[in-house]
Symmetry: C2
Subunit: 498 residues, 2 copies
């Protein structure tokens, strides 16, 4: 009976989520330019209704009652996830949420303005205010969840992830990368001397690029009965599992960045489309977390679409949709040299597979210290610069815009999120290794454009699991061992090594 009430609540919340997701995707794709103000008001009011319904005090009683009842195993898991959602939604007092929302909104606005002006001193007080509130939030969450403060923040994004487990894995990866990066750059130099980068034979029309993107999506398993591709300024995967909206953007001088972006978002989309539909209105039926989600996008983009086998399949597809002249004189190795290019840089979002984790680990280390009070915002530029110099050999002291001011996460109050990106890369590599063990023919399958075995394995081991397990449990069940850096390191050695 109490479970029934939770089930009914789930349907109502799913409907509000549905509206918010579609309105959000629509805003970035089809909304008229002058529709933004009313859209923001509508979404804010709907989010308020969601919060009000999701935090109603009687839900605590329903959960307590349901815990006394006999439940199936999945029923018990569903209840645990209802409780997790409720705890996360109610552990911050309304008054605090209001203060925090106001502070982060202002800080984000200020950041947009002052980042462009490279004005760290002007921005610093706002970030100090945010960090103060984040420390408060971390403590409130820690008390509610009986976790350490930074663990409590991470737990929002990937339940079960703890510094005690993540830090050693990152430490090992960092040590490896610091030594490996110069090797990889040297190997790349040798390869590029033998085979210089081929020029693009553009311009490439948006229509043809769109056709190619759609064909690639279809090939790797995107279900067009339950999703679509549009254009937006920033690519994303949004919508709802029954109607997943992914987007890309096009430049006409080359077509690989849009194609790879489409494949990245398709990875996210396959996860959403593959979730267990019968639980769609329960927390149990949602994607597990941001790290797992990123593992699905990186699986398609990096583990699959950056391989030789994939491009043996994909070259004819490019010819078919873009014309035979689109890649005049290119061989598979020319594509691989393009998409697997490594370069030291300041900016995380522009980084490649080898340097990206160093950007993330830097932030992971710094934000722990910020949350735990070991580092103050005033000392951030120096701390950032020290790590940046050590990990990537680049100094950002005179350029805060490309240093600690480069990401929206901290100005927006999102601490504990950064690790997800690199955890996703590690998980993707470990899943790929497990898949190759389970389906030894997978590379041949890919060469022949048969992506079903690869998707079947992920459907069963990842997608259909929804939120039945914590992130570490999910990985251990899917791959047979706890998350570790071995597979990702082996993958990097194979792809970028001498």
């Amino acid at each position: 009976m109490s479970f029934q009430k939770l089930d009914e609540l789930g349907h109502k919340l799913e409907s509000l989520e549905h509206a918010l997701s579609i309105l959000g995707a629509d805003e970035a794709t089809h909304m008229a330019s002058g529709g933004g103000e009313k859209r923001a008001e509508a979404m804010s009011n709907l989010a308020g209704m969601y919060h009000e319904q999701a935090t109603a005090p009687e839900i605590a009683d329903w959960i307590a009652d349901a815990e006394k009842a006999e439940l199936t195993e999945d029923g018990a898991r569903a209840l645990r996830e209802f409780k997790r959602s409720y705890t996360n939604a109610t552990c911050l007092p309304t008054e605090f949420v209001r203060r925090r929302t106001q502070a982060t909104m202002l800080s984000e606005q200020l950041w947009r303005d002052l980042r462009a002006k490279n004005d760290w001193q002007g921005f610093r007080p706002a970030l100090e205010g945010v960090v103060k509130l984040v420390r408060e939030e971390a403590q409130l969450r820690a008390d509610a969840l009986k976790l350490a403060p930074y663990d409590a923040l991470m737990d929002q994004y990937d339940p079960g992830n703890r510094v005690a487990n993540v830090a050693p894995v990152f430490e090992r990866l960092k040590t490896f990368l610091k030594g490996f990066l110069p090797e990889a750059l040297a190997a790349q130099n040798r390869r590029l001397t033998e085979r210089p980068l081929k020029p693009f034979a553009g311009p490439y029309t948006v229509e043809k690029q769109r056709d190619l993107g759609l064909a690639a999506m279809a090939a790797v398993g995107f279900d067009f009965d339950h999703g679509s591709l549009s254009v937006s300024h920033h690519p994303f995967c949004g919508g709802v599992p029954s109607d997943v909206r992914i987007t890309t953007r096009y430049r006409t001088d080359e077509f690989l960045s849009s194609l790879m972006g489409v494949l990245h978002e398709t990875g996210h989309a396959l996860y959403e489309q593959g979730l267990p539909p019968e639980w769609a209105h329960w927390p149990l039926g949602k994607a597990r977390g941001m790290g797992v989600h990123e593992s699905q996008s990186l699986f398609v983009e990096m583990q699959l679409a950056h391989t030789r086998e994939f491009w043996e399949f994909a070259m004819p597809l490019v010819h078919q949709h873009m014309g035979h002249d689109a890649m005049r004189g290119w061989e598979v190795d020319d594509v691989l040299n393009r998409v697997n290019h490594v370069e030291r840089g300041y900016i995380r979002v522009d980084a490649d597979e080898v340097t990206y984790p160093l950007h993330v680990i830097l932030r992971f280390e710094l934000e722990q210290d910020l949350v735990n009070g070991k580092l103050e915002v005033a000392d951030l530029p120096e701390a950032w610069d020290a790590k940046m110099s050590e990990y990537l050999g680049l100094s950002t002291l005179d350029n805060p815009k490309d240093g600690p001011m480069q990401d929206v996460h901290w100005p927006g109050g999102a601490f504990g999120y950064f690790p997800s990106y690199t955890l996703g890369a590690l998980m993707a590599a470990q899943q790929w290794a497990a898949l190759e063990k389970a389906v030894p023919t997978v590379r041949d399958d890919i060469r022949q454009g048969n992506f079903a075995p690869l998707n079947d394995w992920r459907r069963e081991n990842i997608w259909l699991q929804g939120s039945r397990w914590s992130t570490p449990e999910l990985m251990e069940r899917a791959t047979g061992e706890a998350l570790n850096a071995d597979y990702f390191i082996a993958h990097l050695k194979k792809r970028y090594g001498a």
Copy 2:
């Protein structure tokens, strides 16, 4: 203070309406084919939340309290419209609404199936059930509004419209049309003998038709900062005033039907875009009613875009966007002969300006008798056939699919709506006459592509009035006299007469 509460409620209801409108438009334009089930569930739950919030018992107290306060004139009008909405939303018991929704949903589904099979006897019991419920509903609304039953139904669609006023106007129009239709057909025959219909020089690509449609929308005043054009199976005007979504469909053998459809929907859109933005979250700020809305679409489509002056402006636009060969050998008269073609037919939605009102008046007469119990569903085919034979000289006895089964309105329980179509045509003609009095140069303006004076007049007299007046009051204030058939009759004589 109570008014403040109504104001806050207005913001919440506007947000839910916003979601429902955008989700509805999205469903018909961008939604993936398999997204329908979850979309229906989400919209039904959001509609439930809307109903729950719009009918909360405390609202009655807020209204009663606010009525005791001192209000500005527009404040008093705003309160009257809040009260009208509340009365209309609460006058049917929840149990009755549930029964009616179930019956009309089933009847609509059955109608879709059995209309295709031309099976009146199979469908009859379902319609009898609906009519029984509609009689009950009309009585419930009549009691709440202190109106006659059919007036209470009509009042939902155009507040203030009463049989006592509408029936004599329709009677005069019907008498005129029965005599005029043969004259118009004879005149048309003479015209077509002198100037036979020119063939279309298609095919016309969708891209070029879309460009032409966009250019025509922009010319007549559509604000693309607050709206857009897409494709859907059935054209509509949806969305919200800050982001109006209109749609069209294309055939490639001719381009006039899509262009005229776009202009019709643009008429609706201009009304929505022109509503008073400061009252957008109050009932006072909404479009007045369905008849007034139709007057705005028919104003653009029929009063404006079927004229010689408009086509003197539009011919170069067609050449510019479709190429000079698109209308090879056509003159303005050839376009007018196409768009102003008159023909007796069975189907209301395919009817022209001259025959359309006869289809509506037939339904208006029959549905009054159905609601008032003077006619039973069993006798409907004969009653329909008798009027069809008298008004249009066509018999439908052996073809119920194109007779009383042709429209979705009655199977869906919408009685009292049909008059709006023809009231819209009458209002549009009367508005045009008032406009020509106020702006004597308007035909020259149109010829030169200057639509501002025409829109300024409507903005001031119709759009910015929102729901300040009942439909008859709005017309009288805008045109200086009560709604009558004179202007529409004069218009038909001028356009279609000998």
